[in-house]
Symmetry: C2
Subunit: 426 residues, 2 copies
């Protein structure tokens, strides 16, 4: 039965859980995602997304797309292959040390895009004439490349990775400020929907010429590479890099003593970064608009990133236990993991029927119909893969005309009817 890709028989899934992972895979996210069959390593910092991993990636990226579209942003897809000229124009050819550089035919110098200001700024500039054409918000969800020196953290630091990058174009600082504030809200919604909202802090970090601060979204977890200080009783943090600046502290801390802040130091992973670029890029590439007073002005810009593959790595770092991953509902590869433990043909037929009924009800089900595995092996795999709801059909449950139901994040299972189960997971 083909169920539109929403349901799947585990016997047909080519990827398997495995114990066979390389010893240099030190991070929890890479270990669990590899063992559970979501990803496969090709080289340090470069992974294949297997069917389960691609499902999660698509869900995460569609959440991001929805939230960016809700800001009025338009989706594009910009090239990864970029000529040296555009990087010379912004003075970054020799400054961005993670740039993969090489030569194509005719000795043409090329780079792989680690970020896209060099492409998007002249592109938007070519369509903008006057202030009436602004604001414009564009974003893309794309594969990016960075020649990282340390690529040992699984999906947290990839040499090839997935990213959403958005760019905004404005005719006034006030309009940029307003959009920037709206984007913060959209980012909060993304991280909430991805199940790490409670652990993710809007973090003040160092700014640039055009604004005092940039902002990061930092997710607090034991194995983060960054250090942040959470302001007590808030969802706001301060990045270590600016925590010794007295001006910053007086502005952000108010009456709270610095000692209380310093007690709140946490390891964290940066899952998003937003920055007011001002006219840094537009002025260098000549992306101008005619203002209301008739003068030509460089467009005022902001940029907004979320690494979608890194986000998946972060979620796994945060949401797992000793047995495996615990996916949040909205990004789990499937909603329900249905395990058939019966050995007889009639028992298997009953499980098959239940699978069909869930499929028809529009539930995304992974159906463990594998004949050659023990109940113990199936339970182990199920915990490792981490689908939020688990249902078991065995001779015991069949004899009672019930299905055994357990949430991945609960310790106790219950015997309920099909209708009760449907209600529980909808």
């Amino acid at each position: 039965m083909y169920a539109g890709g929403f349901c799947m028989r585990q016997s047909e899934l080519f990827s398997r859980t495995t114990k066979n992972i390389s010893k240099d895979e030190l991070s929890i996210n890479a270990q669990l995602l590899t063992r559970a069959g979501y990803i496969s390593k090709l080289m340090a910092g470069v992974y294949s997304m297997l069917p389960l991993g691609l499902k999660v990636l698509n869900k995460v990226e569609n959440i991001i797309r929805q939230e960016m579209a809700s800001l009025g942003a338009q989706e594009v897809l910009l090239p990864a292959l970029q000529p040296r000229e555009i990087w010379d124009k912004t003075g970054r050819w020799d400054k961005v040390d993670v740039l993969y550089k090489f030569k194509g035919r005719g000795e043409r110098e090329l780079a792989l895009g680690p970020t896209h200001e060099e492409v998007v700024t002249p592109l938007i500039g070519s369509f903008v004439q006057s202030y009436r054409d602004l604001p414009i918000f564009v974003y893309q969800v794309q594969t990016k490349f960075r020649d990282e020196s340390r690529a040992k953290s699984g999906l947290l630091r990839g040499r090839e990775f997935r990213m959403k990058d958005m760019y905004s174009f404005h005719s006034s600082q006030g309009e940029l400020d307003e959009f920037y504030a709206e984007t913060i809200k959209a980012y909060v919604r993304v991280f909430e929907r991805c199940g790490i909202g409670d652990k993710t802090y809007l973090t003040y970090a160092s700014g640039g010429i055009f604004s005092k601060y940039s902002h990061e979204f930092q997710t607090v977890t034991q194995y983060g590479e960054d250090s942040v200080y959470v302001i007590p009783d808030t969802k706001i943090a301060i990045n270590k890099e600016i925590v010794d600046d007295p001006e910053v502290l007086s502005e952000l801390l108010g009456n709270i003593p610095k000692e209380r802040l310093l007690q709140n130091e946490h390891r964290a992973i940066e899952v998003g970064n937003i920055f007011k670029l001002g006219t840094r890029f537009s002025s260098m590439v000549g992306a101008n608009y005619v203002a209301q007073d008739g003068t030509s002005q460089p467009i005022i810009m902001g940029c907004y990133g979320i690494g979608s593959s890194r986000l998946i790595g972060t979620i796994v770092e945060c949401l797992h236990d000793a047995s495996g991953i615990k996916w949040p509902e909205e990004i789990a590869p499937f909603r329900l993991h249905l395990l058939s433990l019966g050995r007889s043909e009639s028992e298997q037929r009953i499980a098959d029927d239940v699978f069909s009924k869930f499929s028809r009800a529009g539930i995304e089900v992974l159906f463990d119909d594998r004949a050659d595995l023990s109940a113990g092996e199936k339970f182990k795999d199920s915990d490792l893969i981490g689908i939020p709801h688990r249902a078991v059909i065995s001779s015991r449950t069949i004899s009672q005309d019930r299905i055994e139901y357990k949430r991945r994040d609960s310790d106790s299972a219950t015997l309920i009817t099909f209708e009760e189960l449907l209600k529980a997971i909808l």
Copy 2:
């Protein structure tokens, strides 16, 4: 109003139609797609997909996904960044002349994937133990890179381009043959749904060690780079490269005289390519399975490609007129182009209401609500952009309580009611 990305006000679309295209853009597809605001050139063979272009790309790729999934194929996403070692193993590091090669940190030699046999064969091999694990079919839809010497045909020959590549893994030649035949049918469905089914021919081309022929899908059009000979009264053609082989002709032509075939020479664009790889790759990378008789055997493989961005270029080469593009229904960026020509506020409000009604009816509408353009400019843009159905609301149509309706491929417009229009385009 946010309508889930399905509907859009043209006043808010940042891309515009333009007359401003570079003189070295010689191909019809690049000229029309650029002028209409679908793509923007970054360098030869490298294009940005603008919002309209990305919409078409997504639709084409989703058709391909549906048809591959209907074969039971599982979607993955493999890395573009690939280490030299895997190319050395198959002996292709120095043989594939379009390979972009460069060095990363630690002087590590890398390439950008122009195709993925080197990645997918060991990957699938790592999950396969016995014949019982086969067959497996996997595909991806991905950005590929080829350092083409001539990249002057717009989307037809990209240095960075989009492609669906599928790979099949079998334990017998018969099973490969069967899947190969099913894939041909799925490819026919893809090209039919993309509106070029009548112009696309299953074309016999030279094979390799493991099969006499490979097959291409060639779309006949004046500006194609290939030459094919169509067998009279069939949907089958023979590639020029094998047309002088007497054995091929006797096998494929039967009683038809060669002269009749040679009269049927056509220029064509290759939109798909399928190939029985046999054990060419599996034997070199050690991707084996244990057969029923207990022996270890290399997995038998097939590969199946469709360049999705090239397909879009081909469609535009085939389906256009002097005024612009004529998209087939299923891949048009929008279903309906609604033009508001009224100048007064009340007229614009009426057009706005009609737009809302179409949105609520689930129709994908591009609404030309731009205030500063003449009717002539809007009609011109509409023909250029090429949405299949056009509706116009003007003082004339309002006075008669009707909407003017015209199909892009028809010369005559009619005045009909909203309900009639809805029926006509559904």
